[in-house]
């Protein structure tokens, strides 16, 4: 992977990441050997259905997985430094300063007993060592930057006085308070209405350019990915099925899962057609079977697919895919 992209442009390199949950009786592997990197200044989209392991994967990178989960293997290199074996304290220093995260639910991510501004002030005094006075002024600046009207009064209001979209803006302000190199956004617009979603996506795009950050954007919405991302990872059952530039994924998808996913969504533009669903449902990760995780739902599955996991095949410097069928011609196109 590293030999395909210029190392010096890579901000985050993840190699063979494996994370499992243990409920006392059985071990359940939810992230099953993932390789990817995040380039400087790009927005990388991670697409997958619920249970595909996308959230656990990024939480493993940040070291904020629950107690019953464990990172079993993998290298995580941030800006040239290995961070997978850091102590809890050292990891905490990275979070907020180098990597920041925004979550799906803006309703629960803020402390209801603290003013919106105090969330920011605490962060600025702790991480950036500002005095309380300086921090408050900076907090007002940050709220202004994320487009909150009359930030001078808003800074003293409590979370319940903010709407969902405004709370998400406060969270974005918190994430950007310490100018992180990498912002991880885990379904940040899923809980919002479409018109508010459009506002937040515009804001994220603008801030990403202005601050020259890299963004990892997790979502299940293919429309959102097409709007905001430059590169995409398609995840299924804890593995990356396909990786490529946004145009490669949308206009020449290789993996049957990627194709099926694109076929199963209705188009707002163009003709109305009957939808093509993917049969069955996502596999349980409790008893993982051999072979390709998508084999059971794949309309092109062969005997081989149920026995061994396919290797990645490259199609361009940027696109790769995990499937036995691809590369043997275009018989997949229908």
């Amino acid at each position: 992977m590293g030999n395909m992209v210029k190392e010096k442009n890579s901000l985050l390199d993840v190699k063979n990441l494996r994370t499992s949950f243990n409920n006392g009786k059985a071990k359940m592997e939810v992230v099953r050997g993932i390789d990817f990197n995040v380039q400087k200044g790009e927005i990388l989209g991670i697409v997958g259905e619920s249970g595909s392991g996308k959230s656990v994967m990024v939480k493993s990178i940040l070291g904020i997985i629950p107690n019953n989960a464990k990172v079993d293997a993998g290298e995580i290199i941030l800006d040239g430094k290995h961070i997978e074996n850091l102590s809890k304290k050292e990891k905490r220093a990275i979070r907020g300063r180098d990597i920041a995260m925004i979550f799906q639910d803006p309703m629960t991510a803020l402390n209801p007993l603290k003013k919106a501004g105090d969330h920011l002030i605490e962060l600025l005094t702790r991480v950036r060592g500002m005095s309380k006075k300086e921090a408050k002024l900076e907090a007002i600046e940050l709220l202004k930057m994320v487009g909150i009207p009359s930030p001078e009064t808003r800074v003293d209001q409590y979370p319940h006085e903010f709407s969902g979209g405004m709370r998400q803006r406060v969270l974005i302000a918190m994430a950007l308070a310490c100018s992180p190199k990498l912002l991880i956004a885990d379904e940040p617009t899923t809980a919002l209405d479409v018109t508010i979603q459009a506002q937040i996506l515009e804001l994220l795009k603008k801030l990403q350019k202005e601050n020259d950050m890299s963004v990892v954007f997790i979502t299940h919405d293919l429309g959102v990915v097409a709007t905001i991302c430059s590169r995409i990872l398609v995840m299924y059952a804890g593995m990356v099925m396909e990786e490529g530039l946004v145009n490669e994924i949308f206009y020449s998808p290789k993996h049957p899962y990627t194709k099926a996913l694109l076929n199963s969504i209705p188009r707002v533009d163009g003709e109305k057609m009957r939808l093509k669903p993917i049969k069955g449902s996502a596999p349980s990760l409790q008893n993982i079977k051999n072979g390709c995780p998508f084999a059971e739902r794949c309309e092109f599955a062969m005997d081989k697919c149920f026995k061994e996991v396919p290797e990645y095949k490259r199609f361009s410097a940027t696109q790769k895919c995990m499937c036995f069928l691809t590369g043997e011609g275009d018989n997949l196109d229908d």
């Binding site: 209405d193 508010i196 097409a226 145009n247 949308f250 209705p266």
Partner: protein, 326 residues
């Protein structure tokens, strides 16, 4: 679509206000006007989509229609009979004819009942069938929604989200209703599963001659399934049109904004499209001002918009809009 164009549902000036909790001594009682003077109709056999952002009253409208809520005022004609003021007993025969599918397949099924008991409940209440006959009906309906006979013994927690939604659909269809309200019925499901459920709803509609009211916020899915669509904003329907026409020629500024906010799953189109992003957010439904409700966010607002509440106008054919621009 519909050959006869007979109306199954006709709603006239329907209002549903919720009183806010106020202190015993306060003088002016505040109300939330969740549904405020709404009129529309649904033809037999068609799918009517209802879209809008959260808080616009689309779910309340659905629940008032099938009398889960008592309307504040207005008429609900079901097959020619006004059911807005019927009492529970008088409603019983109508309840049998309209059923509901809920958003959350996790909380809308009783975890202590197995699938057979869940589907049997409406049959027991609404039909005079014997236990053995009911079992036959349940077996049939399970097959129709793509579940197996063996699933009857299982409990909801043994199923995935998509399968649970199928159980909810089976429960709604068991008593052979004519009218189904789907309240965000697919919103909680994964993309690949949504398509399965949508296709099934379409098949069942033609097989059982059903009429749907499809309430949702996902505009691309609503366009896909609906014949006609109503767009709601703060308790009012602001535009009604055939679904294709609504997407090709939206008239109301709110509809236009809503449509251009949909992220298009096509990178080149997404980058080239000029998106009209409306600023601001939904105003509070409590302190309602006079005039058009959308005017605080509307880029085309004129002086008249602040004074007169625009009425529904027929623009052409089946396209109606409530806006001073037309």
């Amino acid at each position: 679509m519909t050959e006869t164009k007979e109306k199954l549902i006709e709603v006239n000036n329907l209002k549903k206000y919720f009183p806010l909790k106020t202190s015993l001594f306060s003088k002016n009682k505040q109300v939330v006007k969740a549904v405020d003077d709404v009129s529309f109709h649904i033809f037999k056999g068609e799918t009517f989509g209802l879209v809008g952002e959260s808080g616009c009253g689309k779910s309340t409208l659905g629940r008032t229609l099938n009398r889960l809520y008592d309307p504040t005022s207005g008429e609900i004609q079901f097959d020619g009979k006004d059911i807005a003021n019927l009492n529970n007993k008088e409603l019983q025969p109508y309840r049998k004819r309209m059923q509901m599918i809920f958003q959350d397949p996790y909380s809308s099924l009783n975890p202590y009942m197995n699938v057979e008991e869940i589907i049997d409940e409406p049959l027991e209440i609404h039909t005079t069938l014997l236990k053995s006959e009911r079992k036959e009906v349940i077996t049939d309906i399970l097959e129709k929604v793509g579940l197996k006979k063996e699933d009857m013994e299982k409990f909801p927690h043994e199923f995935s989200g998509g399968q649970r939604q199928r159980i909810g659909i089976a429960r709604a269809l068991a008593i052979n209703p004519e009218f189904i309200i789907c309240d965000e019925a697919i919103s909680a499901l994964d993309v690949s599963i949504q398509a399965q459920v949508i296709n099934m709803l379409e098949d069942l509609q033609s097989e059982m001659k059903l009429t749907y009211l499809f309430v949702a916020h996902d505009l691309s899915m609503v366009r896909h399934i609906s014949d006609r669509i109503g767009v709601m904003y703060l308790g009012k329907i602001v535009e009604i049109s055939k679904s294709d026409e609504l997407y090709h020629k939206p008239l109301h500024p709110y509809t236009q904004a809503l449509l251009s906010a949909i992220p298009i799953p096509d990178p080149i189109k997404a980058q080239n499209s000029k998106r009209e992003i409306i600023t601001g957010e939904l105003p509070s439904p409590i302190e309602m001002e006079t005039g058009c409700r959308f005017r605080s966010r509307c880029p085309f607002a004129k002086p008249i918009c602040a004074e007169v509440d625009p009425q529904m106008k027929q623009v052409d054919g089946e396209h109606f809009v409530a806006c001073h621009l037309y």
